[in-house]
Structure formats: C-alpha cells, structure tokens
Symmetry: C2
Subunit: 214 residues, 2 copies
C-alpha cells in the first residue's frame, strides 16, 4: 500500500495518472508560471475537483485563489516519481517489440537506464543493439541479481512469459512491464503493469463498429 503525506492510502488509479500530470507540467512550464486547477482540468479533460484531489495526496502544492506553481509542482512530482535517479531495466525478448523498445529513446529521457537485453536464440547472443549486449536467457536470473535490476520488460511469446516472469521474480526483480498478451501469474511482491496492444486494438475495433450500427 502506497501512502500519501498524511498517511492516506493512494489508489493505484491515482498513481497511474501521475505521469500524465508530469507530462503536462513539463509542457506547461515553458509557457506559464501558474495554473488553476480549473484550467489544468480543462487541458487534461478531467474535472477541477479530481485534479485538486489527485494533487492533494502528495501535499499542498497550490494556494487557494492563486493557482499552482508549475515549476514547483513539476519538481515535487519528479521527486515523487523518482525521475532524477535512474531506474535500471532490462528487456527480455528481442522480437519486433523488444527490439523497438531497445531503441526507444523516451526511456532515457524519463530516467530509465537500459542495462541488458536477453533472448533465447543462439544466433542473437553477443550481438549489440545501441551498444547494449544481448545475453542468453539462461543468464537472466544471475544477471538481475548481480546488477540489482529494478524493472524487466517482458516481450516474449505468451507460451514462455510465465516461466520468464518466475525466473525474474526468483531473482529479485521489483517490477515487470509486460507486453506479452496474457496476465502473468507471478508469486512474490512484484509490481506488474501490462501493455496489451491487441486488447486495446480490439476494444477500439469494437467501439467503432458498434457506432456504425447505430
């Protein structure tokens, strides 16, 4: 359970919204000094009361009637999101998605440091992408332990995803960003976020086709 400054448990749904606030502050700070919760909520497509409630979990950044100081808010959120100290991560699975993520510079910009790559195919082992080495997946557990890796991106076929996730869990990984199209079953205190591209595409397809039938 993650708690705010006054000890209130913070719902996961609020935590998941914080990076979005951070993006907006990053964009706004070059334009204005302060912003009201009303204006911020209009930009973000939510309600002013939700904005005030979300930000209140992390202390009082704003002053009634004066709006929020954006630079201060961004700095506080950077602290909360630990953006200044790099989060060490690895990518398991050098298929199309895994390779693309290896070259995705936005990770570095957001404070993530890519340490290693893993695959099962002998022909790939030892190859480097952007200066990062691909290791054999048999070395995954020892590597995570030795280098104290925080997060693993799992981008392997669904048939082997749970096996990979359990190896990671047993080696002390703290979080998994899962791109495999299944819900991982992992024991232990590990945080998991899923990016299910096909689920999102199917939901979209369904929504637009239902609209056409109206």
């Amino acid at each position: 359970m993650i708690r705010g400054k006054d000890g209130t448990p913070i719902p996961k749904v609020v935590i998941e919204r914080l990076p979005r606030y951070y993006r907006y502050f990053d964009w706004l700070e070059d334009q204005v000094e302060k912003i009201s919760s009303k204006k911020l909520s209009e930009l973000m497509g939510s309600s002013a009361s939700q904005v005030r409630l979300d930000l209140s979990y992390f202390g009082d950044f704003g002053q009634q009637g004066y709006g929020y100081n954006i630079k201060k808010l961004k700095a506080e959120l950077a602290g909360i999101l630990k953006i200044h100290s790099p989060t060490k991560f690895i990518i398991v699975g050098m298929g199309n998605i895994g390779r693309a993520l290896t070259r995705y510079n936005a990770f570095a910009d957001a404070g993530f440091k890519l340490e290693g790559l893993f695959d099962v195919k002998p022909i790939l082992i030892g190859e480097k992408i952007n200066g990062i080495t691909i290791y054999d997946v048999s070395e995954l557990g020892p590597y995570v332990k030795k280098h104290d890796i925080d997060i693993a991106i799992v981008a392997v076929p669904k048939e082997v995803a749970n096996e990979v996730a359990n190896t990671l869990a047993a080696s002390g990984i703290k979080g998994i960003l899962n791109f495999a199209p299944l819900d991982l079953e992992v024991s232990g205190d590990i945080s998991i976020e899923n990016i299910h591209i096909i689920d999102k595409a199917l939901a979209l397809s369904f929504m637009i086709r239902e609209k056409q039938q109206r």
Copy 2:
C-alpha cells in the same frame, strides 16, 4: 453510447475488458467444455459477480448451475468484437515503434488487416516493409478516404501528433490507437485508445520505489 442486448448502456471499462475474456476463452476452449463464473473469475483475478455482470451485458451465455459453454461464449464474443471481418488499419510514423508494429503478427491473428504505412521522410517513401508500402504523409487524407480505413495507429513524435490526428479525423477515420506521448485533441466522433508506454513505466518505477521505502 454502446448498448447491450437489453438496451443497457455498456460502460467503456467493460468493453475494454472483453478482449481479455476473449483471450481466456481462446485458451480455455482446448482444455474444457464448460466453466463456472467462479472458476473463470479465479483465473482472471476478478470476482465471480463481476464476471457474471460483464457477460450479462451481451446476453445470457450461461445457465445457472451448469456454467458457461466456452466455445459458444467465444463465438458470441468473436461476433461482438467483429473478429471475423477484418478491421482495416494503417500506421503513421515509421520510427522504431511504428516499424515494430508493422511486423507485429498478432494484429493479423486478431482480425486486423494492415493496408498502408506513412512517414514524412522522403528517403523512406516507396520502401516496403513485409510487402506493405510506405507513403508520404501528404497522401494520408486521400488514402484514408479512398480505402475506407477504419483505424490509424499514430506513432509519430508528439509535436506533430495532433496535426496528424486532425488530418485523419477530417478524412473520416473512425478510431485512433495512439502511441504518441500526449492526449490527442481531435474534433469529431472518433474513438481513441492510448498506449502510453512511458507513463506505464513511470507508474511502475514509482510503485517499486515506494515499496522499498517501507
């Protein structure tokens, strides 16, 4: 507003869960004939009452005390999700993510048909990836109209994402799967689903670091 068989509006959050049900039915059908809402909820990590409520929006697939017939359920959901008739899509932006999605076979397996690719870089125009041609982004609007494209994947830098989205909207696109790290501002009746990879990674980073401080 999307409505179920009895006219009840279906919440977006339920619609977004349907592809996940579909994945489970697809996996279960080779193993068992029927499944109870209790067993299904255990597999999916939700509650039996939520499973029953979710499925009830789409008619009565189950029989009290007998469980749900999985093949029938999968067929009904395939119909609801329109998995048998292909959804035509294009990808705009041939950076790392766009290229990876071009080669992502799971789209075809889920009933999506990739029709065209778009980029702004002259050197890429005319190149083919997996037999699909890259066109100049200036042809985007006419192409969407002419080929009656359903969905566009937007994988361009955030600075140009809204311009691309508005071109798509003006050309009659029905849905956008947005990988650009911003919330698109598009006018018109367009469905949008976001895949914000960095937001998810930041949320994960935040969760694990908070845990370490306990």
